[in-house]
Symmetry: C2
Subunit: 228 residues, 2 copies
DNA sequence: AATAAAAAAACGGACGTCCGTCTTTTTTTT
DNA sequence: AAAAAAAAGACGGACGTCCGTTTTTTTATT
């Protein structure tokens, strides 16, 4: 699979995302008409992620957000109860979608080697398709409240556990060789994250997402498939 | 070399760092007695890095800093002209030290393979010895002014270039095999950065810095030394 | 279909708080 | 006592949030 195919298959529309948020937070959203809510949530998230790709969430003022989203400050507070909740909303939703798609895609694969390749590709393609969400989720994690931070860490570890599982299965099946599965999973994650954390670098150098994904797979397999 | 040896050899005392900052910013520091300056700069940097390991630089108020450093708000402004300059000072100094030590250590090595091992170890050991500085420099880079951001990017690329050079030499000497030197250097950097970005994870799992460094070297060499 | 009434949504001024910074006063050192 | 350093206090500005009002949309009535 290449990225262009991935994008067609995995449909992550803004309406879906906003709809899901509405569903899960119906009580804290004061506006009643669902159409309006979804329409404006899209505006709010788009604007937030755009602004926060340039400055920190903390540095973004509600006035900034109002100006960029086209809603007034007052209207904004019909969609979230306070600024921190907006941060939590975006974080939670980003994690949920990423986790769902990743799990879905892996379930289709057969052997451990294929599973690993698909997991790597899916994660990188996902972070490409939802770059703003991934970047935001990572970079703003430290500004969360303690309980929300815990959720973020759990999610991070859960993603890692997916890789640990795949590699462990591969080792049992004698497809892979590894004397430290957890560290292997860790450095794979580090490479995956580099794609969305240093996107400016790869864009500048015209490294395509397909090229990067293939490279990470190659490095990983060089380590795991190697004959002792 | 292991970490405990590294720490003995590479002497990075707080006095030295502060002394260097004083030297390079004599004109913007209003206090005259050098002993006082160094004494208080240490307090200021310690407090800043400690606070900023818990919250963002922006979220740290000058009042926070005053309370933690033991100086008054007024006194603080004798050591930097404004809050942004304090950010720049720490960033600049962190990059300078890291770059100096890394360059020094590599110059001692012989062949490309050894150079690569030393570069990886030095970088990880450095980020361990100066964890707060590295974390701060990375995480706060996006809150810099445009010109300062440019310096940060240059520094990042310069570090990467060191690895590109080593690998290129190795390929020429037929010690390494690589069809994409730049991507190889990129993912090595990603693995190096993971050590100080996800330190909580490794600490929790009792992964030692030596163990991690050896592992990164192993992964890298599995990719570079592999027979085609 | 046109109009009136009601409901929903959006607006934006105002408030209290906290921030970075500047100025003045006090303390310490020489 | 003079000079240097530190502390304390003051100030204007920006922030998140609230809430009374206006505008827009929907529903009801003729």
């Amino acid at each position: 699979m290449i990225y262009s195919e991935f994008k067609k298959i995995v449909n992550i529309s803004k309406e879906d995302i906003s709809g899901q948020i509405l569903e899960q937070n119906r009580d804290s959203i004061k506006v009643k008409k669902e159409k309006k809510v979804i329409e404006n949530l899209i505006k709010i998230f788009d604007a937030t992620l755009e602004i926060c790709s340039r400055k920190s969430f903390q540095a973004m003022s509600i006035r900034d957000l109002a100006a960029h989203s086209g809603l007034s400050r007052g209207a904004l507070y019909s969609y979230f109860t306070n600024k921190e909740e907006l941060l939590n909303l975006i974080q939670m939703q980003g994690r949920q979608i990423a986790n769902r798609v990743l799990t879905e895609q892996i379930s289709c694969a057969g052997g451990a080697a294929e599973k690993l390749r698909i997991a790597i590709k899916t994660h990188i393609y996902l972070s490409e398709a939802m770059h703003n969400w991934f970047y935001f989720t990572y970079i703003e994690a430290r500004n969360l409240s303690k309980p929300e931070q815990k959720k973020a860490i759990e999610s991070e570890l859960q993603t890692e556990a997916i890789f640990v599982d795949i590699i462990t299965t591969g080792v049992k099946e004698k497809v892979f060789v590894s004397d430290n599965v957890i560290l292997t999973a860790s450095v794979i994650k580090a490479m995956l994250q580099d794609w969305y954390l240093k996107r400016w670098k790869y864009t500048q150098r015209k490294v395509s997402v397909d090229e990067y994904a293939d490279f990470v797979i190659k490095v990983t397999e060089a380590s795991l498939l190697r004959k002792k």
